[in-house]
Subunit: 203 residues, 2 copies
């Protein structure tokens, strides 16, 4: 399988963490790909019109995206360990995934505001709205800690990747402040080989 890949993308990280947890990472042929919202990567568009990473091409040649679809596909060929079958456990973990993805979408938009726009085109209320979304998502994770426990599934993997992205790109945000329980949960989760092996590059 071919994976359009970037080591700094938190959504790619979700895919790689799932693949490692499932023991099938070796089946992925990673193709380094850089993408952006303005200079759209033309090499990805024939496979994925959204021009985003991750995009997977299966061995049958079928393009799959986004990370949610790819992770569920990998789970189906890797033993069905990360996506519970239909029922309350599935709806809970899928909603956790949405919250983690939503934090990441806000974090990316907040970052685009200061990386792709000239300084005079930045609008602080927009960036503050994204930061507030990050904050309310973090507070939700805190209330979910008892349910998260030591589970390893698509919900906790997404939340782990979201927190890792804040460490990577939002070091000054101080997400651990006042959230010691969540910091402890992440401290343990980040020790998993799947998380350790997918840490984003420094800088």
């Amino acid at each position: 399988m071919k994976l359009f890949y970037s080591p700094s993308s938190p959504f790619v990280r979700k895919v790689m963490v799932c693949a490692i947890e499932l023991g099938i990472a070796g089946k992925l042929d990673k193709e380094a790909t850089s993408v952006g919202p303005i200079d759209r990567n033309q090499a990805v568009i024939p496979s994925n019109p959204l021009a985003q990473v991750p995009t997977l091409i299966t061995d049958d040649g079928m393009p799959l995206y986004d990370s949610r679809v790819i992770c569920e596909y990998l789970d189906s060929i890797g033993g069905n360990k990360l996506f519970p079958a239909a029922g309350p456990a599935r709806w809970r973990t899928l909603t956790e995934q949405t919250a983690g993805d939503g934090l990441l979408d806000a974090a990316l938009l907040g970052r685009y505001e200061v990386t792709v726009r000239p300084e005079d085109k930045r609008y602080e209320p927009w960036r503050l709205g994204q930061l507030d979304k990050i904050r309310t998502a973090l507070n939700q994770f805190v209330t979910w800690l008892p349910a998260m426990g030591s589970r390893v599934d698509i919900g906790t993997i997404t939340i782990g990747c979201a927190l890792g992205y804040l460490d990577f790109r939002y070091g000054d945000f101080g997400w651990r402040n006042g959230r010691q329980g969540l910091a402890d949960w992440y401290g343990n989760f980040a020790k998993r080989p799947s998380m350790d092996q997918t840490k984003p590059p420094a800088g």
Copy 2:
């Protein structure tokens, strides 16, 4: 079940179309809710930290989001008609859903650019990047027409709602130009009672 609802949200429309197709729309208690990226709706946050519609509260009191999770949940209680079981048909329709959702995300960002920002804070290359994403998604739909056929599932429903949103908010974009086959497909799909009954309000 309670649904945080807005008649102009294309993601809410996805949910309502699914519910109508499944014959369970009567079970949804719709709560009119307006949301925005800067003035975040505080009434939604306790249920959904992303403060977005749609958000569903199940009869057991479990909050579910986003539209992908809600639609799959509704399908599970409505007869499993819209989400194929694991296999190529599922991966195809879920990827179609991603493409339709991606078009909508781009359309919303392109619209926020001109609705929530003061004129001097707008950055045309950003808006053009979003429009280009809409364009490449539309071109992908055209290549998918033979596979879409007369299927009614989460993939085609999402694509139908995406095209309906372009008619609603991007009337000048001319998405039908050069895409007669897609226009014909939508013309038929839009006649379904589920689509007709969920048309966004005028203006």
